[in-house]
């Protein structure tokens, strides 16, 4: 399929303003924006999509430039494929530093007000953060939707697992999920309907996963009087694998490969480039350009709906009609080149407005527009998974550094009565070694050469000993909502276009820290069963360093941004309703992770995508 964004699909500021007939203005071209556009166009609607970044990656050449940017960046940081753009900046880890008490870091794009520094990021480019997401796609658990009721923690959702289960299926089709339902049906896992299978068979577990499983299978841990058996289970993932003939009642599934290519068929099956984050070189991993390609084809070939895309268009203000509270337009700053702040300001209009700029930017835009909502909750309850990493060397060669970033993990501690006292977690086994924790493999090489004084044969042996044995467990820990964890804006801090930047104040809740402390203990237990030489070390100089009950940990951001405009049962306890429609502004939808009142222990995108289908139905109803 082609992502044929030819000139007729792009619009100009002049046209976008002049054309008053849009059914919907969608801000953002990420997962959420693309799915909403696809659902609306399918029903013949006309859509204007605003994208803050230039859209160079619409061609294979442009996409490959991103890959090359990554190759030539010696730091290989996870935003390195994506060029700097002061007009629509994004968070970048190298700009972070540890904060002293009371200190604020204003050098990073997200003003870090502390006390905890978040290294989570998102990508402002065509395709949004799906350009560099890892694409793990577990569903949330039914219990995650009612943690207040069950565990006296966090907030209940106004809807339950069963309400969105069919939408999970839609999301899994759209994102092209490979997964092994049989291995994921276990007490305490997400319930799948009878006979359900994923579009593609599960990706094989890595050799490393097998080695870990061999060491822990059949053992268990005790937690709050409960015995929890351990084993390595596969993760479902939105990357192409072997199509499952049994999918869709035997109709099967056709994977969607690279979309912006000309006469090149690639990406219909993952090859194991081990580079899912920050960019899959062959597009075997889902990115929302695939959904956009579908929208464009629908427009062109099936004559269904119409999408116009306005690139380099930064939504800057949501304008409100004071009489009825409806949104009357979105003010957009359209710049000429990323290198210069020169821009023109226009206002675009549609019947409904859909903001899909992800939790931080959506809150930023609403607050910058002076719209904290009647509950005052815009920006509040910001959530993100807290990660702690534990790493060591396996006794045998396990062939680390091969396969997609993560194929397997330990999923049996995602739920249990213990959630009354401490946060649950899921555990990833990283196929890409200690990279996340220590900068491996480069840091290992430089230390073996510079400090170990090795060269020649001993160096090669040293590399095998150090790298091929690496095991890194990443614990993804539940973080309950808290109103004081929040995004704000401040006119002091703006970007090149004069848009206010997001400010983040965050403290990792004690409940989550208890989970983190247990995670560290758990890792020690697992390591002892595996005979792992534990190399975990938390550095007090690093920005994520937190002391809990006298012990230091490094907490890393999970890149799973949620909760800045949570959904609820009334305009007093939430910002949006169960359709992600703003309580205050009847023609405004805030779509994305921000609507989620809890985060649980699942990577968030399948849930975000599922909610999009629900919202799209409401939008279509409203438009009809």
């Amino acid at each position: 399929m082609h992502l044929r964004i030819d000139p007729t699909r792009l619009t100009t500021p002049h046209e976008a303003v002049g054309d008053g007939h849009y059914d919907a203005v969608i801000v953002g071209s990420g997962l959420s924006g693309a799915i909403i556009a696809e659902q609306l166009c399918k029903e013949g609607k006309r859509v204007l999509m605003l994208e803050a970044s230039p859209i160079t990656n619409k061609s294979l050449r442009g996409y490959n430039e991103y890959v090359t940017n990554f190759f030539v960046s010696p730091s290989k940081d996870n935003q390195s494929p994506f060029p700097e753009n002061p007009n629509a900046p994004m968070p970048r880890t190298p700009t972070l530093r540890k904060l002293q008490p009371g200190e604020v870091n204003t050098n990073s794009y997200i003003v870090q007000a502390g006390p905890y520094v978040s290294d989570s990021n998102y990508t402002r480019t065509l395709g949004g953060t799906t350009m560099h997401w890892e694409a793990k796609t577990p569903r949330m658990l039914p219990e995650d939707f009612k943690t207040r009721t069950l565990y006296d923690q966090g907030l209940d959702w106004p809807i339950g697992y069963d309400d969105i289960e069919p939408d999970y299926q839609r999301a899994e089709r759209e994102m092209g999920v490979s997964g092994d339902v049989a291995a994921l049906r276990y007490p305490g896992g997400s319930p799948y309907p009878k006979n359900y299978v994923y579009p593609m068979q599960g990706l094989p577990l890595s050799y490393l996963d097998h080695m870990v499983d061999r060491g822990i299978a059949g053992t268990s841990v005790e937690l709050d009087g409960e015995t929890i058996p351990l084993q390595v289970r596969p993760y479902p993932q939105a990357r192409n694998g072997v199509p499952n003939a049994a999918y869709d009642g035997g109709k099967g599934y056709t994977p969607v490969g690279a979309v912006n290519t000309h006469q090149v068929d690639i990406g219909e099956r993952c090859q194991g480039n081990t580079n899912c984050v920050p960019i899959c070189p062959v597009q075997a991993k889902y990115w929302s350009g695939k959904t956009l390609a579908k929208v464009l084809r629908m427009n062109d070939e099936l004559d269904k709906g119409e999408i116009k895309i306005l690139p380099q268009a930064v939504a800057s203000k949501v304008e409100i009609n004071p009489e009825n509270g409806h949104v009357s337009g979105i003010q957009v700053k359209v710049y000429k080149t990323p290198g210069s702040p020169e821009h023109e300001t226009i206002t675009v209009r549609g019947k409904i407005y859909v903001i899909t700029t992800a939790a931080i930017e959506t809150a930023r835009l609403m607050l910058a527009s002076g719209l904290p909502s009647s509950s005052g909750l815009v920006g509040r309850n910001f959530m993100d998974h807290a990660f702690i990493l534990c790493w060591g060397l396996m006794p045998e060669i396990c062939g680390t550094y091969r396969g997609s970033s993560c194929t397997g993990g330990i999923l049996d501690l995602r739920n249990g009565p213990f959630r009354k006292n401490q946060a649950a977690f899921s555990v990833d086994i990283h196929n890409d070694g200690w990279g996340w924790a220590t900068g491996s493999p480069y840091s290992d090489l430089t230390s073996l050469v510079d400090d170990g004084n090795l060269f020649g044969g001993p160096l090669r042996q040293g590399l095998v000993d150090r790298l091929s044995h690496q095991l890194l467990l990443a614990f993804m820990i539940d973080v309950p909502p808290s109103e004081s964890n929040r995004i704000t804006v401040d006119p002091q801090y703006t970007d090149a276009l004069g848009n206010m930047r997001p400010n983040l104040s965050f403290t990792t809740p004690e409940y989550s820290m208890r989970g983190a402390a247990y995670a560290r203990q758990f890792a020690k237990t697992v390591f002892s069963r595996l005979g792992v030489d534990d190399h975990t070390q938390y550095n007090p100089e690093n920005y994520g360093y937190v002391v809990y009950e006298g012990v230091g940990y490094e907490i890393r951001g999970g890149n799973h941004l949620c909760g800045t405009h949570i959904m609820g049962t009334s305009k007093n306890n939430s910002v949006v309703d169960t359709n992600q429609r703003s309580w205050d502004h009847a023609n405004l939808y805030l779509v994305g992770g921000g609507s989620m009142p809890s985060i649980g222990t699942a990577n968030v995108s399948p849930t975000i995508a599922a909610l999009c289908y629900r919202s799209a139905r409401a939008m279509l109803k409203q438009l009809s």
Partner: protein, 369 residues
């Protein structure tokens, strides 16, 4: 019945095995050209060569499916399976030879000849009478090899007609020619190659569909009744036209007439290529050198790969994914390494893999009868 027809099941089996030989024979040439391109340059040419090479591998697998469907035997370890380069192709006797060489204008011309389109005609027009030089392997409808098909497409058309007729004859007697073990069929689950689906061949319909896919992906049709031309009905472009784009410096887009592409321009930097020894032999490399050893190791690995494929085509389908595909990815590295090494005393030319498989088997003493 015409004397050019494939009249017996045995003859059909021979033809199908020849089809595998043929599809495979182009691979060393395409892969060498592909990897001779300096990394990061000639993106368009690289993409085209890669896609074509990958599809040849697919076609070979389809031929294996066809052969297995009628209960034939697939054996890629047989002497002569990999020709000695330069080699004639069945349709090129007295015409052109195919070489293992770098990506050059003359290599491109050869590729265009390999993939030249099918001119559908009468059976009489389909074959030509030529004298076959001694020791030249060829595809021929009759045992003495005095006639050959004019194009690969004609050859496949003859196979298709034979399938239709032999199955009709069998059906008339209440039997079928599709007596092979369905568990030998390689499907997309076992082998994915990008572009083109692998489906099981279990009856006449699937056999015809499989043959059509090979013809359309390979040479494309030029025929009034099948006005598919540059792109087939699925929007896929045939190899001939893929290569022709390189000659004409422009991509075809849908609706273009053959010879007149109107898509984006293609530029070729003929200098950004490692010029390799043409039709290299182990004997071209100093005996005992690292280069010699590496070239020999490549041949050994390749011979093992053919043995592995043979197993995979003979019921051990899971070997396709588990071993054969990783091996293919490995060859890319091994070939690249050879090509980047200058070959001593070869006038500044670089080395390349020699693909002397029979010779290697002989050295190893593992040649199978």
């Amino acid at each position: 019945m015409d004397s050019h027809d494939i009249a017996t099941l045995e003859s059909l089996e021979e033809h199908l095995f020849s089809a595998m030989v043929l599809e495979h024979a182009t691979l060393p040439a395409y892969l060498t050209a592909l990897y001779s391109i300096k990394p990061g340059t000639n993106q368009d040419a690289s993409n085209i060569l890669r896609v074509v090479a990958v599809e040849e591998m697919l076609h070979m697998t389809i031929a294996a499916n066809l052969l297995n469907a009628i209960g034939g035997t697939v054996n890629l370890t047989q002497t002569g399976f990999v020709p000695s380069y330069p080699t004639y192709l069945p349709d090129s006797i007295d015409d052109f030879q195919i070489h293992i060489e770098a990506f050059t204008p003359s290599a491109l011309e050869t590729f265009l000849k390999i993939e030249r389109p099918v001119y559908l005609g009468t059976v009489q027009q389909r074959v030509v009478k030529r004298r076959i030089p001694n020791h030249v392997w060829c595809l021929s409808p009759n045992k003495d090899g005095t006639t050959q098909y004019t194009t690969i497409g004609e050859f496949y058309n003859a196979i298709k007609e034979s399938f239709i007729r032999l199955e009709a004859e069998a059906q008339a007697k209440g039997s079928t020619i599709f007596t092979g073990d369905p568990a030998f069929q390689i499907t997309s689950e076992y082998y994915y190659s990008g572009g083109g689906k692998l489906f099981p061949v279990t009856n006449l319909d699937s056999a015809v569909q499989a043959i059509d896919l090979v013809i359309e992906q390979g040479e494309g049709y030029v025929d009034e009744d099948k006005p598919t031309g540059v792109f087939d009905q699925y929007g896929e472009i045939a190899h001939f036209y893929r290569f022709e784009q390189l000659r004409l410096g422009r991509y075809y887009v849908r609706g273009d007439k053959p010879g007149f592409p109107t898509g984006p321009a293609i530029e070729i930097d003929w200098d950004a290529v490692y010029l390799t020894v043409v039709d290299p032999k182990l004997a071209d490399y100093p005996e005992g050198s690292e280069l010699y050893q590496a070239a020999l190791n490549f041949n050994i690995a390749y011979a093992q790969f053919l043995a592995l494929l043979t197993e995979a085509y003979n019921g051990k389908r899971e070997l396709m994914m588990r071993a054969a595909v990783p091996a293919m990815f490995d060859f890319r590295n091994l070939m690249n390494r050879l090509i980047r090494n200058p070959a001593p005393q070869q006038h500044g030319r670089h080395a390349a893999a020699t693909f002397e498989i029979d010779a290697t088997n002989a050295i190893l003493g593992t040649a199978k009868a």
